[in-house]
Amino acid sequence: MNRALLALAAVLAALAVSIPGAFGRTLETATPTATPGVTSSSITIGGTFPLSGPASLYAPIPRGMEAYFNWINSRKGPDGRKGIRGRQIVWKYYDDGYNPAQTVQLTNKLILEDKIFADVGSLGTEHNQAIRPLLNDRKIPQILVATGASYWGLQHKQYPWTIGWQPDYIAEGRAYGLWITKNAANAKIAVFYQNDDYGKDYLRGLKIGLGAKKSLIVSEQSYEATDTSYASQLARQKASGANTWVLLSIPTPTVRALATAKALNWKPDTIVINSVSAIDSVMAAVASRAGPEYVNGAISSGYLKNNNNPKYSNDPIVRRYQALLAQYGPSGADSKNGFYFYGFAKAYDVVKLLYNAGKNPTRASLIKATQSMNWVNPYMIKGIKVKTSKTDHFPISQLKLARYGNGTFSEFGPLIKGR
């Protein structure tokens, strides 16, 4: 009977966590205005992110945004008021475990329970795709989504309430293709890609960039999430005689693939790594197993300042980022983690947009603001402009190639127009 009591206590504790929420009715808070999520003193926005599970690598993004919003809420803006024109930003984000079905459910929570003004920066291609119809149906802005699929910009007509942010994968892949045709004209290319839309978008872009030289690709191998070893694929790529290796993969597989290739004694002359995985800490992991010389010289691309690069160590924006993260971020946040920086960069544009949505922001005015973005985001590489118009729905379409060396990626060459 004692055990039963103990169990009862445990279960009651669990239910105490869930039931009040389950049966509680949402109370109307503050004075309602015409626009959900906007009161005289606050503006509520939200998004979904993988905080746990296989993609929890990205968990710092919403936390970086949170830190930035906290700062915005406590500093006096250009108009002398805190927050956005005196409204505090309320930032709600939930863990969808990188499962689109959860994304849908949590987005419903954001819409119906948290009454968000807009869905901001939600992460994942399929995840945003899953919630796009319902957000558009309700005319709720879905802005600055954290995915590089191309259709956020391309399908503006069908989904006018949705807009992307970062350079898309096709554009990025194209940049690599162009670079290869110019710098390694006789390359024999092996492509290692993730077998889904993400990897295939990149591959498509690469081929567009290569143009007539598409035939340079001598080996295409894909991997699945259920692969524990890529030795089989990589042995074949090695055997193909390729000397240029393009990796279109997410971070952990990229690390594994590079170390495995080294173990197979395969050293391509040129290694190209997609920007998603071109993270200094990721490369450091490779370097510690495969040796720095293996990855030195690897090519990638970027549009944000690399906050780890010594070149930027005295950059006022990077310095301020470090200070703000320490003050407003989660305790123990590692400012070297580029995803916090990404969060800051995105939050910067969010604040701009919310400000531009006007004195009495409405969902329509916010979307209107997304169609006339035109500014320099100081977190981005010099020269890159955040720019949209009624016909251009790709906020960031410029990028710069970067080269790995001395433990960090350094940008080089001219700005490349993605579209």
Partner: protein
Amino acid sequence: MALPLAVVWSQVAQQVTSGLAAGAIYASLALALVLIYQTTNVVNFAQGEMATFTTYIAWTIMNHGVAYWPAFVLTLLIAFGGGVTVERVLIRPVEHRPELVIVILTIGMLIAINGLTGWIWGPEVKAFDSPFPNRSVIVGGVAISIQDIGTFCVCLGTVVVLWLFFRFTTLGLAMRSVAFNPDASRLMGVRVGWMLALGWGFAAALGAVAGMMAAPTVFLDPDMMLVILIYAFAAAVLGGIDSPVGAVVGGLLLGVVINLLGSYVDFVGQELRLPTALAVLLLVLVIRPRGLFGRVVVRRV
């Protein structure tokens, strides 16, 4: 298929070699599964997560400046203690409940430990040191990485040690007798409870070995063992869930077959190689339910 014969053969050899390397890791974890199954008739779904957790502990120890081998031994001891504790605290109370209940308990452990690992150490991929250099030797056009050779030897070494232990030590004999007939063993003065706990301890330590052998190539990641566990499970069942030798053979076979399927069967390709391998495995089981090396269990009526 239209490649010159010489090229094909060295490539086949390469595929087999790397398959053996991957298989050695499956085999190590499969051994841990078999060890627990042998002594307690439980399939421990948390085996992979326990391995991941202990590998992170090893990483932490090394991060504090301890050299590889001392850290390795220390981790084995911690894993052993952890395994014994798990058995005494969690498994003991449900010992006599149906198999399913214990399976669910280990699934609960899987979920909790996986979450805990991510929570404590974060999701970023980490490099894990290895005593073996990340170089390779070339034999007849086949590149064999020294790490893989090391993993392979450690795996085989473990089997030999286990075999010697169960064959020639009193403790090993006692554990075997418990697995074979707990009631009779109890009558003969064997402390059955402690033997089961020891079984869990050894399995946890074995898992730690598997984790530390896998981590240098798959890198340290909270989910690194989730998929490997499925392979190990398949290897153990294929070999015969109660046969240590079967686990090793099953693991190696699985590694090789998957590589060859992916490379040389066009319809399968890289994307369908796991489903195909599992389908083949199930076919084997349907024809031979006890696995390749499993004992025949005479159905007693």
